[in-house]
């Protein structure tokens, strides 16, 4: 009798087989996502953003506050970072559904929750690398103001990027047109609600991201300056915002794994 068939070694080897399968899936997901059209589009968008920052920093006397207000907040935080998360988050499972290759993944003996978690880790890694490296590039192009702002923006951007990725991965797994729903979520909730008064904006990622940024950038007078702005935004402390985001990432990933393992993908057959 071979070692594989031996009942005494089966539980341990079965776990190891799943771990190895998950590692293979992790590598495959990274490979498929990196060598894809969305990577090319991401690269193109990053280059255009780099050109915008280079054009902005061409004239001298630029301040960290100006770089934050006119460059990083409108282009990177409000547009580029969510787009990176949508490009990899919603297509991780949504792309498999679109290509009708999800069925091959589901018939493997890997538990569905493990498939989801593996994809979540791969997507998070990609989003973190793209967000971090793009931010570093933009800050480098901006010169001195960029160097000042990079340590302030980096932790908040990475955390928000991961949270966006978990939201969009969940939407991609739950709904057939996850990408469009992700775009709708970003446009209607993230872009519109953040401009509204009151506590309604607390359901957005952008709110917690800004809270972290404004708290960390107090020294450079980033963000809220007038009493009206402060009252309108109703910010919470940076530390609280950070913990909310960490808890939300964990909760969204757990819920996503549960939902993915329970959902019946009827359109695949």
């Amino acid at each position: 009798m071979s070692e594989i068939d031996s009942p005494s070694t089966e539980p341990a080897s079965s776990t190891m087989r799943i771990v190895r399968a998950c590692l293979f899936l992790f590598r495959l997901t990274l490979q498929r996502q990196v060598f894809s059209r969305q990577t090319l589009v991401n690269l193109g968008l990053t280059i255009v953003c780099g050109m915008i920052v280079a054009a902005w920093s061409y004239r001298g006397h630029r301040t960290a506050m100006g770089f934050s207000d006119y460059m990083l907040l409108p282009t990177y935080i409000s547009f580029l970072m969510p787009i990176f998360a949508i490009s990899y988050g919603s297509s991780a499972i949504g792309g498999e559904r679109e290509d009708q290759s999800l069925i091959y993944l589901l018939v493997t003996p890997i538990p569905r929750a493990a498939i989801y978690l593996t994809k979540a880790i791969a997507v998070s890694l990609l989003v973190a690398i793209w967000s971090g490296s793009t931010l570093a590039l933009l800050c480098w192009l901006a010169g001195e103001p960029g160097k000042t702002l990079l340590p302030i923006y980096l932790p908040a951007s990475l955390l928000a990027g991961l949270m966006y990725a978990s939201v969009f991965l969940l939407l991609g797994a739950m709904f057939r047109h996850g990408t469009i729903l992700s775009l709708a979520y970003w446009f209607f909730l993230e872009v519109l609600l953040i401009q509204m008064p009151g506590t309604v904006k607390r359901i957005t990622v952008a709110f917690y991201l800004r809270c972290m940024l404004f708290d960390a950038g107090k020294t450079y007078n980033l963000g809220l300056r007038t009493p009206a702005d402060v009252e309108m935004f109703a910010a919470i402390s940076g530390e609280s915002a950070m913990w909310v985001m960490i808890c939300a990432i964990l909760a969204l990933t757990t819920f996503g794994a549960y939902a993915f393992s329970r959902r019946e993908y009827t359109e695949l057959g």
């Binding site: 969305q38 920052v53 054009a55 990408t179 775009l183």
Partner: protein, 300 residues
């Protein structure tokens, strides 16, 4: 086992009931209407379309209620009505223009969805081969698809704006509003035409080259958001307002101002410069579409 005997094969075909078309063939231009009908049906079958349309119509409901409120207050308090005239539903009709501009943003989001479904899916799943195997030319296919996209844009921008215009007119005591403010109707139709033409050509061009949903949506939004930011940055760097011509979204808005008659004459970039840029974009998009829409994949 395959029956290769010609006599028996003919008999089998006869038994199957195949026969030539004996009716009068209509012009292939009628196929354009069929393409539009099928495309709209395809989009309207999705609950997502209705969800996005519903979100888009929130803005319409807000304006609809405001006009009703204003019409009621005009009767009760003339002073208050004059205060509300800041919301320009008369004269150059700035309120309609702002409304259409906001609606166009929502339409752009919906087009990311429509583009992947109407154009991208045809390219990826071979729908284009089916269309081009019929007795129609690719120009019919292209025009049909362009009209489908234009119809979606108009459904969200032009049609609601026209409804608001008619609502405001019929809630006044006479029909003078329509006579005195006919330029507003011209503006709504003109701006609507620009939005529909530019967006449909641009979307078709992008979706035929980038058919997958995620990269398509990213490119589509990137064109509007980042080109605007790039135009602003270059304008500030070079001190030349003509760099704003890069911002296609603002170009369409500028032409909209021109259609409503509210574009300042000497403001740079001028209406003519903007029109030249938009026509150029449309021609390049059309060239990309014509190059891409080919039946060569039939050979595959």
């Amino acid at each position: 086992m395959v029956d290769n005997h010609p006599q028996r094969a003919v008999t089998t075909l006869d038994q199957a009931g195949y026969r030539p078309w004996t009716g009068t063939l209509r012009s292939p231009w009628w196929s354009v209407l069929a393409i539009v009908r099928v495309a709209l049906g395809l989009i309207m079958r999705r609950w997502l379309f209705w969800g996005l349309l519903g979100l888009g119509l929130l803005n319409f409901l807000y304006h609809f209620s405001f006009i009703y409120l204003k019409a009621t207050l005009v009767v009760q308090s003339r002073d208050f009505a004059r205060f509300l005239d800041g919301f320009k539903l008369t004269g150059t009709g700035e309120a309609y223009m702002t409304f259409m501009h906001v609606q166009a943003g929502i339409a752009a989001l919906l087009l990311a969805f429509a583009g992947s479904m109407l154009i991208g899916a045809d390219t990826r799943h071979g729908g284009m081969i089916f269309y081009l195997s019929r007795s129609m030319d690719r120009k019919h296919y292209i025009i049909g698809k362009l009209l489908s996209i234009a119809a979606i844009v108009s459904l969200i921008t032009t049609v609601p704006a026209l409804i608001l215009y008619i609502e405001y007119g019929v809630l006044s005591n006479s029909f003078d509003y329509f006579v005195e403010n006919w330029t507003i109707a011209r503006g709504i139709l003109g701006f609507g035409l620009v939005l529909a033409t530019v967006q449909s050509l641009l979307l078709f061009a992008v979706a035929s080259w980038i058919p997958r949903t995620v990269p398509l949506a990213m490119t589509w939004l990137g064109i509007f958001v980042l080109l605007t930011a790039l135009g602003r940055a270059l304008r500030e760097m070079a001190g030349d307002r003509r760099w704003m011509l890069l911002a296609l979204w603002e170009d369409m808005l500028r032409i909209g101002h021109w259609a409503f008659g509210s574009l300042p004459e000497n403001r740079i970039p001028t209406g003519t410069e903007t029109a030249v840029v938009l026509v150029g974009v449309c021609l390049v998009s059309l060239a990309l579409i014509v190059y891409r829409v080919k039946a060569v994949e039939v050979v595959r």
